[in-house]
């Protein structure tokens, strides 16, 4: 029992130390105030996106251009999925947005498979980044 108590005590101490470090890590070192709580995950200012696709003579999508992406999304990853009328994926792609001026644009040229243009009923977008 003594061995068990000692070991458990040690483990709890170590866990508490890590948790304390964790709490410390949330502090903004340069700030003079201290707070804690939950922060919502915000978008980079996107309210909607639209794509314009180009098509070859085999009726396959060769590219989709997405423009008017807010500059605050610079460095984020934009993913696109071309979906059919049942919202099933036909192909997908993602790009990392570079540094932008007023707005960003992205060009997707490969979707992992040939995508027949007239089967595409929607573009599904996701923007993720720091």
């Amino acid at each position: 029992m003594r061995t068990l108590s000692k070991t458990l005590g040690f483990a709890v101490t170590v866990a508490a130390t890590f948790a304390a470090c964790a709490a410390a890590a949330t502090l903004a070192l340069g700030s003079t105030t201290l707070s804690a709580g939950n922060a919502p995950v915000a978008s980079c200012g996107v309210s909607s996106l639209t794509g314009t696709q180009s098509v070859n003579n085999s009726n396959n999508v060769t590219q989709v251009v997405v423009s008017n992406i807010p500059a605050a999304c610079s460095g984020d990853t934009l993913s696109i999925t071309l979906a059919d009328q049942n919202h099933l994926p036909l192909g997908s792609s993602s790009v990392t947005l570079g540094s932008c001026g007023t707005t960003c644009s992205a060009t997707f040229t490969s979707f992992g498979a040939s995508v027949t243009a007239y089967l595409v009923y929607s573009y599904q977008f996701a923007v993720v980044g720091a």
Partner: protein, 221 residues
């Protein structure tokens, strides 16, 4: 003798679990959750179909090397002939703009169909390619057609086996480019050249039937 060994094993398991829990909390705490971006949404496309045929939306003609100053824009058929010195080229244009497709739209499938009024024997392979310089259908002749420029061939196709038969193929990329703003001067149909070939003829938009047709399936955001 065996009990202490079992107890030590449990102790080790509990200790490892506690350590793991502590380090997990520490790792998660290094994420600045509040600084991350996340957005998801969809752009649902609208689908449309536009069919262009007839003289109100189509212009077509041909030019003839052996009658180099003549214009045939009111003819009911257009000819394509390969032989040097008597070549004939056909031209056709559709008013794609009349479909009202926005420049942010796209052609998903564009199909061009001609119906033969006369066929060569043996069959010939003809070339369709976009015209990339301006001209006027009502005044184009063999002579002034020599200064026109052309884009990459869109399609090579065999002439139909018999008069009255149609030939159709996709021209989606050309139409898509025109929707997006590239100037539309139509296409030329020509024969690669030979001195033994015979003439292929197709009905034009001036014909009472079997006129050329361009059907566009398109989408817009």
């Amino acid at each position: 003798m065996r009990r202490p060994r079992i107890r030590r094993r449990w102790i080790a398991v509990i200790a490892a679990g506690a350590l793991g829990a502590g380090t997990t909390v520490a790792f998660a705490a290094t994420l600045g959750v509040g600084s991350w971006h996340l957005w998801a949404g969809a752009d649902n496309l609208s689908l449309g179909v536009c069919t262009l045929t007839g003289s109100t939306t189509t212009s077509d003609t041909y030019v003839n090397q052996s009658s180099s100053g003549s214009n045939y824009s009111s003819a009911t058929t257009m000819a394509v002939h390969p032989n040097s010195g008597s070549q004939e080229w056909a031209f056709v244009w559709f008013n794609v703009a009349s479909c009202g497709i926005p420049t942010t739209g796209a052609a998903d499938a564009a199909t061009l169909v001609f119906v033969a009024s006369g066929v060569p024997s043996p069959s010939r392979t003809l070339t369709l390619q976009p015209v990339t310089s301006s001209f006027t259908f009502s005044s184009v002749t063999w002579n002034n057609a020599q200064s026109l420029t052309y884009g990459t061939p869109t399609e090579s196709f065999a002439t139909p086996a018999s008069a009255g038969s149609g030939v159709g193929f996709y021209v989606t990329q050309n139409v898509d480019n025109w929707i997006k703003g590239t100037a539309n001067y139509g296409w030329r149909i020509s024969d690669g050249g030979s001195n033994t070939g015979t003439t292929a003829t197709f009905y034009t938009s001036n014909s009472a039937s079997n006129q050329p047709q361009l059907q566009i399936i398109w989408t817009k955001p």
